[in-house]
Symmetry: C2
Subunit: 420 residues, 2 copies
């Protein structure tokens, strides 16, 4: 066994032990840990900024791009953002111990379905230091122990944050090992986590770009909660309100083009293309968006470049939008079924029946009616935060907050029943 | 591509297409298919028995053991059992389209969580022909398409049953491809299913012995709903009612020793061992059970053979019971945490507080108070049947009925909201 294997196995064993304690800790203790964490992160601002400055300096010396440096850099405002994010999670109703169902079948047993933590989560992310605080907070709220593996570029920042997490846990009477950060930049640690650390990790959550997620999906020997792509569609139905169509299309694409909830393809009903598309396209172009259209779309908006088949399958994460004119609602949902990634789709329509048909036909994690796809977010769903968004078919779909990080057990209360 | 690969890929593609149709079919059509299936299985009794006779004859010629021949053999009573099982599933409330939650966060969006099918299930089982009918019925009820792979020994019986399923589906206006049986005994088909058939299979349910489940867990590239073992414990607490302790211990072990809900280890509180154990042991021995005890247990019941460490980790599935005297409730739950498989555990006690503490501490899919572990069964839970029992930490735990074969999507109704 290498030193790294020994170290990682120990991390797994400690996480498993901490998970058992955390699972049985009262909600108050977990809330207290979160409140303390929020306060202590604020108090530690200078230390966090100093640690982060070391990461930024090293990254700059290694030639990191300005965009990535921006993600990596902490500022007082960003520390305040972490403080606030943890405070919000502290205020989320505790999901554990809640009876989600209770019934008595013919045998007279009193059966309750009770929420419990999953166990141990492995979170693998890149160089956003705030994920360390976010992920720790969601795990504490949901009673799961966490093994966090950050990108090596943000290791100093993450170690500083993880130190504050450990203090908050201890002060609340919870095991400091409930949240552990892998403290080595050795990339082999990721492979070991994907192997499950001898069964210590129940589920891996990859949080980062497509190549990270693809690797985790391909190699993990544990369950994975993730989405590979947000290839999302906004469909302007023939009965769309023109103002809503313009506002939603622009927001869905351009509010932030790099998020997984951004719309990548705009579908427009043929019957309304002439009346809707020129104005929508003008707004998008004015906002700085490049449009790639099919023939029918280009006939109405000559500024568009021609779309090819590849455009229907590309998650741009950039100010580029594919535009296609479709015959009707069925053609729109057929396009989505064929090219979509099952993440988030929206219809804009004033026709309630069409909206309900779209919602029924589309088999994605989130289907929106008359709203921007950029609402695909745990905070917007009222979850207080999210560890990611799932396009899994099993367990959690859509934003994954504290409640979605739980499982359940059945507690069955009898009066001496034996089975005939 | 081999012929088999081509054939299996085609099966996957047809299943995926059928899943889309089935997902959008009304509950009435699925109920109608189930009612028809139940009726038609009864009508087809002679054909089913004839097909089964061919399987039994071939198996006998191949030297199959009497125990396995018994599992393979259909009788009029067993056909009636299938008819009844499908009728019960037809009567289960349809799980699809149900809103399990609905709320409005601060952004004013109306968010509904709605149950939807998972998609396509792969069911891999051994030589119990009735599983073909059971699995088909649960998939139809839950709106999932199914690819069924039976043991080669029951292929003729299963083909006959699958023919009736296809008729029932067609007559109800549903795609016959919603339930497909792999019609070749070629064992390579299992490997292809475990590979997911180009993403066509969302989840595999193995139903059979430990070696089958272990292979599926090790090799599947899809999600798996399963349990490897039911290493279940019954704990006789110091405040156990003596009569309940005797009745439950005997039933939990001996009602049927081959089922996954059978108790494999009996834990007895030291404080009550002297008063409880001799009578409980006498009942078990009278029922034909071999007892393997630790030193303290053997001091009270000399008929026991000595238990070794291996006995705490053995799922006997036979009339053998490991018996251990434990210091107290914490020692009992520690033993369960160390040796259990997370399936089903029971406490027998008249002390409500102890019962609740046991239920909170034990982290198994099913925790019973004053009832036999043999209630670990979808039918007993009121699910109308089960496709298996899961010890997964994600998605479904415990008995997996129609509702547990669903996932959900979020349908979000807005009034033109864009995200700031």
């Amino acid at each position: 066994m290498t030193d790294l294997t020994t170290a990682m196995t120990g991390l797994g064993r400690r996480a498993r032990a901490a998970a058992s304690a955390l699972r049985q800790a009262p909600a108050d203790a977990r809330t207290r840990a979160l409140t303390l964490l929020s306060e202590k992160l604020g108090d530690a601002q200078d230390d966090l900024l100093a640690a982060n400055a070391r990461d930024v300096e090293a990254a700059r010396a290694n030639g990191m791009s300005e965009a990535l440096l921006d993600r990596l850099t902490l500022t007082p405002a960003r520390v305040a953002g972490m403080v606030e994010a943890v405070a919000v999670i502290a205020a989320v109703p505790d999901p554990l111990g809640v009876e989600t169902e209770r019934w008595t079948p013919a045998n007279g047993l009193d059966i309750a379905r009770v929420r419990t933590p999953i166990g141990v989560l492995g979170v693998i992310y890149e160089s956003r230091p705030n994920v360390t605080a976010d992920a720790a907070a969601l795990c504490i709220r949901s009673g799961n122990a966490a093994i966090l593996r950050c990108g090596s570029d943000c290791l100093q920042s993450s170690l500083a944050i993880a130190g504050v997490v450990a203090e908050a846990l201890s002060e609340a009477g919870l095991p400091a090992d409930a949240v552990q950060l892998v403290d080595t930049p050795d990339r082999a640690a990721v492979g070991l986590m994907l192997g499950g650390l001898d069964g210590a990790i129940d589920v891996i959550v990859p949080r980062g770009g497509k190549s990270l997620v693809a690797r985790v999906q391909a190699e993990a020997r544990t369950a994975v909660l993730s989405h590979l792509e947000g290839l999302n569609h906004t469909y302007l139905h023939r009965a769309a309100d023109p103002d809503a169509a313009r506002a939603i299309a622009v927001n869905a694409k351009m509010r932030r083009t790099s998020v997984c909830g951004a719309t990548e393809t705009l579908l427009v009903d043929r019957a309304a293309a002439e009346s809707l598309l020129p104005a929508v396209a003008a707004d998008l172009i004015a906002a700085g968006c490049e449009l790639r259209g099919d023939e029918a779309a280009r006939a109405l908006v000559p500024e568009m470049t021609p779309a090819t088949e590849a455009d229907w399958t590309t998650e741009y994460l950039a100010p580029i939008l594919a535009v296609r004119v479709v015959d009707d609602l069925d053609a729109a949902t057929d396009h989505i079924a064929r090219y979509g990634s099952g993440h988030t789709e929206a219809i804009v329509t004033a026709d309630v029946e069409a909206a309900e048909r779209f919602a029924a036909q589309v088999d994605s994690a989130i289907v929106l009616v008359n709203a921007s796809t950029q609402f695909a977010d745990g905070g917007e769903f009222g979850f207080g935060g999210e560890i990611g968004i799932s396009t899994n078919r099993l367990h959690a779909r859509g934003p994954v907050g504290a409640e979605q990080l739980t499982t359940y057990k059945y507690v069955v209360r009898g009066q001496g029943q034996i089975r005939p």
